[in-house]
Amino acid sequence: MQGTSSTARTLHGRSLPLLVHVLKSVENLGVSYVKGTELYQSKLEAEIRRLKFSYRESLEDEYEPRRKDHISHFILRLAYCQSEDLRRWFIQQEMDLLRFRFSILPKDKIQSFLQDSHLHFEAISEEEKNLREQEIIASSTSLGGPKLELEYVYKIPFADALDLFRGRKVYLENGFAYVPLKDIVAIILNEFRAKLSKALALTARSLPAVQSDERLQPLLNHLSHSYIGQDYSIQGNAGKISLDQIDSLSTKSFPPCMRQLHKALRENHHLRHGGRMQYGLFLKGIGLTLEQALQFWKQEFIKGKMDPDKFDKGYSYNIRHSFGKEGKRTDYTPFSCLKIILTNPPSQGDYHGCPFRHSDPELLKQKLQSYKITPGGISQILDLVKGTHYQVACQKYFEMTHNVDDCGFSLNHPNQFFVESQRVLNGGKDIKKESIPPETPQPKQSAQKTKNASSALASLNSSLEMDMEGLEDYFSE
């Protein structure tokens, strides 16, 4: 990688997360809307504009953002090259984004793009087209009828059009393929995919060298797991939930992952470490205070015949730790969907993870049936799961349980699910504050350090022992 120091220094928390955000939007939209349709295009354009992502024809003042775009891409390669799953996701989103950007490229700019990308494509002249009109029409399945005058046709060396000529889907003459515009996109995308795939493999091989660079290490380790956006660690809603609301909230407003954790906790009076982390941080995010949390867990564990002293010695320390009251005193943030889906898969006896990702489809079906989801809804959800669109499946669950056609948000975080659910159930107002007096006196909350988006990069998995403080300073300007 070139110029790593200047790269890192000029990196706002904005540009890296921005690109991941864009890619996530691309993914979500790609599932919700048929790609290529007008609706998809307009939604995608709106989303990109909302994110202020530079995508249009370059102008002088767009130089900086586009440079950052390039730099971000290279850094994302480092983050996403590390596993087959991540690579596949990254390539798919980048391809969809490229396809979209190509589709909005004005026709006269296509030629310069092709030239600049060292693709030996030339649009042929009208006369050349007319000479071969019959043959081109007879060869290309993408052309509907004799409307060749309106189409650009490109002359490319046959070897560059392998996927087209092998199936005789293009006209060949003297070593050149005469490719209509629609088919050119397919070729470019193939080239792109092949090159990016190779590049990612290469990146993965050079990763050890890059990882030894201290400045990049923490960034890389957490980037692909980092949730970009609201991290639900700001506890403006602290103290608004009372413990006896939790049971009903779990069926009404909890996402399935937390619903099943709560149920398991109530039934077994115990949860293993992974479940305690995922659920405990979620509860913190919906507004439980440290005191409430201690009480909540202790009450439940004691029912499981645990010794109260043992709880105080062992588990209470961990709960305080996750609230930032022990050790490094980092205030851990609740896990995002991506983090739950991609890391720490559950084993036998675990109840954490994402049910859409980690449950056997049969069991998932049963679970959804027990939640009284309609058979139609269940089959839609299962289809989405089959297509690995776990978060969209959860959105579907939201829509079915809240009786809405469109959940109206792009699901990224279990706490987001909760907030949106409360919004729907309370008619847009904030979480209703129960008039039950709190069980324990609420100490004044210490002022939370205001975190901007770059702190999302600092969200830690408790099993990772990395000192993030230096990195935060590095990124703040």
């Binding site: 530079s54 995508y55 249009r56 024809e57 370059s58 102008l59 002088e60 130089y63 586009r66 440079r67 775009d69 390039h70 891409h73 290279f74 490229l98 950007r101 190509f102 490229l105 700019k109 310069s112 793009f113 600049d116 990308s117 060292h118 043959e135 007879a138 060869s139 399945t141 046959f158 070897a159 392998l162 000529f165 092998r166 199936g167 005789r168 006209y171 060949l172 003459e173 003297n174 070593g175 050149f176 080239e191 792109f192 090159k195 990016l196 590049a199």
Partner: protein, 439 residues
């Protein structure tokens, strides 16, 4: 022609490799003008010796080295392989994984055995003048496509010595093609799909690609003579039942009845054509027009390629001017200008040309006093006195064309090559699409 006796091979080959094999032209071919260093030296040859001893990874330093080794080993068969990263005969000394096949001609192998389901005269390794037309059509169809569609200029067609033909495409850019592209080319050239369990092997879509259309035009020129007269494919019930298997069942009764009424394959075919092009009202999705007729013609006449021969860069193929150990015939180049007249049974055998040479030699030796002297003097021109001569001439024409092309390329390449590098200072003139995927 002198009858060929395989038992005589060792003696015949000795003479052949000493006096008749066209080493100079052969070397001129595989050396490709000496433009690329060690191109010939890194070429793999394989020899099959007497008693089926097979040795791979043979390579030679130059023409004289090649001659000496061939004369020493007296191979029954010679195969040509790829140009490797190192000398093949030293491949054991190369670090594991470093010895790689890098370039090779694009080759095709068309074998008469692959047509057994559609020829009535012969089967398996047998051929006759009636079914040889299949090879004629194959050469015409494939060669046209290689030349006009793919733009390949240097195509050498060779008789395999028994039941088929080979094609060697030797253009510089073609020798560098990847395995994937080679497979793609074979796919483009393939229309007959399916093994023994598949009855109907050709299905045309409504959109007929120019390649298919042009191939059908070629077949049409030969179809009557080959299929309707020579093969007589509609001669009797047994034979026309096979054709009926390729048309919709609803047409069978009508065709059967009318076939009985007619007296020749020609007449029956005319009837079938008419019936096939009419719109069958009771069959959904059936196209109205000549598609059915074309599908039958293609199944009976279109070339059948072996993809495995063509796709591998390291695949070994029988060398031109090699001898076929079973038939004794020399693998000779085919003159494309006279492809219709090519007669595999007129191709010289090793015994016949040795015999011819003997006759000449005896008469000349009577004039010379020193036998060894006359040996050397005449060696390079000996083949010219035999029936091998015209075939070597075809080969030489092919080599001339290669030379001409090479000279033309060298002139072009002496122009400067530009290389654009991605430069951030120029970014504001770039279109908006990300160029980072170039890297």
């Amino acid at each position: 022609m002198e009858p060929f006796d395989p038992a005589e091979l060792p003696e015949l080959l000795k003479l052949y490799y000493r006096r008749l094999f066209p080493y100079a032209q052969y070397y001129r071919w595989l050396n490709y003008g000496g433009v690329v260093k060690n191109y010939f030296q890194h070429r793999e040859f394989s020899f099959t010796l007497k008693d089926d001893i097979y040795i791979r990874y043979q390579s030679f330093n130059n023409q004289s080295d090649l001659e000496k080794e061939m004369q020493k080993m007296n191979p029954y068969k010679i195969d040509i392989g790829a140009v490797y990263s190192h000398r093949p005969n030293q491949h054991n000394t190369v670090k594991l994984g470093a010895f790689q096949a890098q370039e090779k001609e694009l080759v095709f192998d068309i074998d008469m055995t692959d047509y057994d389901d559609v020829r009535r005269c012969c089967s398996s390794a047998d051929i006759c003048s009636k079914c040889w037309t299949l090879m004629t059509m194959a050469i015409r169809i494939i060669d046209r496509a290689l030349k006009e569609d793919f733009g390949f200029k240097h195509r050498l067609w060779v008789y395999s010595g028994r039941r088929g033909v080979h094609c060697w495409v030797c253009d510089e850019s073609v020798r560098k093609l990847s395995s994937a592209v080679r497979s793609g080319i074979v796919e483009y050239l393939s229309l007959v799909k399916g093994g023994q369990d598949v009855k109907k092997k050709v299905h045309l879509s409504e959109n007929v690609h120019p390649f298919v259309r042009k191939s059908i035009s070629i077949i049409k020129k030969y179809f009557e003579g080959y299929a309707l007269v020579g093969q007589d494919i509609l001669e009797n019930k047994e034979s026309w039942d096979k054709i009926l298997a390729l048309v919709p069942e609803t047409m069978h009764n009508d065709l059967q009845q009318n076939f009985q009424k007619h007296h020749s394959s020609l007449q029956r075919w005319e009837y079938l054509k008419k019936a096939a092009s009419q719109c069958p009202s009771n069959i959904k999705n059936e196209k109205c027009g000549p598609w059915l007729e074309w599908e039958i013609m293609l199944q009976y006449c279109f070339p059948r390629l072996d993809i495995n021969v063509s796709k591998g860069i390291n695949h070994l193929l029988k060398s031109p001017f090699s001898v076929h150990p079973k038939t004794g015939r020399i693998s000779v180049p085919i003159d494309l200008q006279k492809v219709d007249q090519f007669d595999p049974f007129a191709v010289p055998t090793i015994s016949s040309i040795c015999h011819e040479l003997d006759a000449i030699f005896t008469s000349e030796a009577e004039k010379e006093e020193n036998q060894a002297e006359s040996d050397i003097k005449h060696r390079t021109r000996d083949y010219k006195k035999t029936s091998l001569a015209p075939y070597v001439k075809v080969f030489e024409q092919f080599l001339e064309n290669l030379d001409k092309s090479r000279k033309g390329e060298l002139l072009k390449k002496s122009g400067t090559m530009r290389e654009t590098k991605m430069n951030y200072t120029k970014m504001n003139s770039l279109p908006c699409l990300p160029a980072y995927w170039k890297y």
